[in-house]
């Protein structure tokens, strides 16, 4: 049972344009979401998060939007840069299990010069 889903395994975007990565979840108890970025042969690094009391959180070029009624969140990267090429994971913590993170399958973003 995949509680956090990223249905697009890959995304290709031109440098300077907007990248939009999507994530859906099924558990209405989730109230906090995180995005991680992962380069090959490295561990994931935290990128940005959002609490369910908000519908938007912005940090520089990165903005996360949350639509609770649709159980959907998205990460926008504007403008996209070649260094943004990586795998992006969305995740939600499960509070009744030590705060373990439940991850989506990941979306591989390729930003072309």
């Amino acid at each position: 049972d995949q509680q956090v889903k990223q249905n697009s395994p890959s995304l290709s975007v031109q440098e300077g344009r907007i990248s939009i990565l999507n994530c859906d979840y099924t558990n209405s108890m989730f109230d906090y979401f995180l995005w991680y970025k992962k380069y090959p042969a490295e561990g994931p690094t935290f990128l940005i998060s959002i609490s369910s009391i908000k519908d938007k959180n912005e940090d520089g070029r990165f903005t996360v939007f949350l639509n609770k009624s649709a159980k959907h969140l998205s990460l926008h990267i504007v403008p996209s840069q070649p260094g943004d090429s990586a795998v992006y994971f969305c995740a939600a913590p499960s509070y009744n299990q030590g705060g373990k993170l439940i991850f989506g399958q990941g979306t591989e973003l390729s930003v072309k010069p």
């Binding site: 561990g43 690094t45 705060g99 990941g106």
Partner: protein, 116 residues
């Protein structure tokens, strides 16, 4: 600067060997986790620990065990390595959380394990 360190970046082991993956964190975090990453499957939780000598099974614990004798160290053990355990293994740590509060998990650099 916070740090989670995994003992090896790359490992090659033979089928049937007992394999130890070590992870150390310097943030005094209560929670520690072991995940594996496989293409198309995301990160799947193998085991986690919320205190010394405490452990809980994750989603895919079969074929693995863990040990947490000290707060800063969490070891993953493959009792008898098999080829389907070839994967990227990721250790993470985080502060303990209660309902409505959360801090992000910090990950190590990963261990790419190949079982031949």
């Amino acid at each position: 600067d916070v740090k989670v360190t995994q003992s090896s970046r790359y490992l090659v082991k033979r089928t049937g060997e007992k394999v130890f993956l070590e992870c150390v964190q310097d943030m005094d975090h209560e929670n520690m986790f072991w995940y594996r990453q496989d293409p198309g499957l995301g990160l799947r939780l193998i085991y986690f620990s919320y205190d010394v000598k405490m452990k809980e099974k994750g989603d895919i614990p079969e074929g693995y065990s863990v040990s947490r004798e000290k707060k800063e160290r969490f070891s993953l053990i493959l009792e008898s390595a098999s080829t389907n355990q070839t994967s990227m293994y990721l250790c993470a740590s985080s502060r303990i959380t209660g309902t409505g509060t959360y801090t992000e998990a910090f990950f190590g650099q990963g261990t790419r394990l190949t079982v031949v």
